[in-house]
Symmetry: C2
Subunit: 350 residues, 2 copies
């Protein structure tokens, strides 16, 4: 696979197959899944073989290209019917990631205008590759914009995985950290393990290890201890959807980190491409929050950790209000309050 | 075993053996460990087969009685030498729990005055049983004092396990919840799973299930989400050591919960016997914080959850400053700021 990460590979075309690293079993095994149908891609999104809003967007775009290849349609009308069905199926996989709908919208632009089925098939595949390439380029731009925000020898806390694995490559929050590390080898990263799915312990720790960036893995409930000791200089996280006013949906636990950062006077940064910004939502109260199955909480991989039948809540995301966000880093630059203006301008500039 | 819990049994004498439920493998298996030597007891404390400051105190007291029985000493001097050695060994098992040193001090009062070895052996065993019985009585008293603090139909968050399993029986924080439930069946408890050792998921959830108290298990990073939604009316936790000024050491993650409670205007209560209060320490900065082994964070039971060699921090406790504590509930009553006065008075009253 091409190196997108730089050392981590997330998703790519191999001939007419979409190949993804299986993020459910990392870091213990490095296994690649080959997808020939959009239904297989939908299943990989739903079961979190691939996750992270930008990566989900890329996967959905590639899923649409697979749907076009699968379709035996000879006419435009038949092809459009098959593609609409695939788009609905892909859209319903996960409700919070805004990039999913954005990427499907990008593909819809191609096939909603009547055209030759063969050409549409080709252009959907081509556009999905562009979305991947643009995503990596946007991450690198975020890194460049974000890096100067961090003091020398910074201890940086991150939550979940907003790395190469969550994107086409390089990463959003972790992309910023990569860029900081390029200019300053004395940084250290605190990695929240990020229960229940352990994206921090399994994916972020693994990515940082691959790059040789110094880090320390902690459980989610430990960051308060290090904030209080003055050992955290800045926080940077990704996002699954950002409302027009700068409210940020991200992995469950992000809100708690933002409250701790505010209480300790530590800057809290969000790194995400403008395709994550949803100007149609006035604020975070309107962002749909996915509730996932109880077994993610009661089990730890194959290990039961609570009694059978334990009642569980499992919201997969929370919303950090814009008051808790010091700045939002996109490929367009560093945006601050009032976000309603700065984010709208960033989107318009695209 | 006698019902101390009421439905949960933690530790007791069976003839000349100290029998404990193995809290490392609860709730999947209910296994009891029989201890014939103080070294076995020390090992059970160190490896957390028994945990929770009050329960550790009871175990240490019983360990001293076992040490006396083990000792072949015919003279007082020989016996005292063996007991001093056992006291040192037991004391070194865990640094944060104040009740450990307190219980050893209770036993020292007996054997530090010269006396008949046979009588000393008998009185050490007798005193350890008294410490257990007093502990349960203190927990019930805490429940009575604490219950009126909670509004009708309260949603109560608790962290770690401060239940029957953490004490001689009934529990400190969970004892308060038991007492609230006796008068109000409409309460609900949010249970933090409490990584890395999962005392919430494994022990608190199990205890609440045994009592039929409605609860919902969440990962530690989810409580912020429920605070923000206004779904948490009060927090109650236990403590491993309380400094003279009311700073509270408790399981890692407690400090974060206290910051969240304060940010949302939710009362934060601590329930602990006065034997947890260490008047010799002016504030929480002086409380020793145990650092436990990395494998607790990178593994769960037999499951690896991070790459081999992952760098880890694993502080087992944190300190919640007294400003974040609404009230401290002991067997003597409900204490508020200024804690330096109210706690000293409570200790003196004993």
């Amino acid at each position: 696979m091409t190196k997108t990460g730089y050392n981590v590979k997330t998703i790519e075309w191999q001939n007419d197959e979409v190949v993804m690293i299986d993020q459910r079993i990392l870091p213990l095994e490095e296994t690649y899944i080959h997808h020939r149908t959009w239904q297989e891609v939908a299943d990989s999104i739903k079961t979190m073989a691939i996750r992270g809003a930008p990566a989900i967007g890329v996967a959905a775009a590639m899923g649409m290209a697979l749907a076009a290849m699968q379709s035996p349609a000879a006419t435009y009308e038949e092809l459009k019917e098959d593609l609409d069905k695939a788009a609905r199926g892909l859209y319903e996989t996960r409700p919070t990631a805004y990039n999913l709908g954005w990427a499907l919208g990008q593909q819809a632009r191609i096939y909603e205008k009547e055209g030759d089925p063969g050409q549409i098939r080709q252009r959907l595949k081509q556009r999905s590759q562009e979305i991947l390439d643009e995503d990596v380029a946007m991450c690198v731009a975020m890194g460049e914009h974000g890096a100067p925000l961090f003091p020398e020898g910074a201890c940086i806390l991150t939550h979940c995985n907003a790395g190469a694995l969550a994107t086409g490559g390089y990463g959003t929050a972790l992309g910023v950290i990569r860029s900081v590390f390029k200019r300053d080898k004395n940084i250290k990263v605190y990695v929240d393990e990020t229960r229940p799915f352990l994206q921090g312990a399994r994916l972020t720790a693994w990515e940082l290890g691959q790059e040789g960036i110094p880090y320390c893995l902690i459980t989610d409930n430990m960051s308060g201890y290090f904030f209080k000791k003055g050992e955290i200089d800045a926080v940077v996280v990704g996002s699954d959807r950002i409302a027009a006013n700068g409210d940020v949906a991200n992995k469950i636990g992000t809100y708690t980190v933002s409250v701790l950062a505010k209480a300790h006077g530590v800057p809290f940064y969000v790194a995400a491409p403008t395709s994550t910004v949803d100007l149609s939502l006035p604020d975070g109260d309107h962002i749909p929050i996915e509730e996932r199955e109880p077994a993610e909480v009661t089990r730890f991989r194959d290990c039961e950790c609570a009694a059978p039948g334990t009642p569980v809540c499992n919201p997969a995301f929370d919303v950090t209000p814009h008051e808790n966000v010091t700045a939002i880093i996109t490929e367009a630059g560093v945006h601050r309050e009032p976000y309603a203006e700065s984010l709208a301008a960033a989107k318009k500039g695209k």
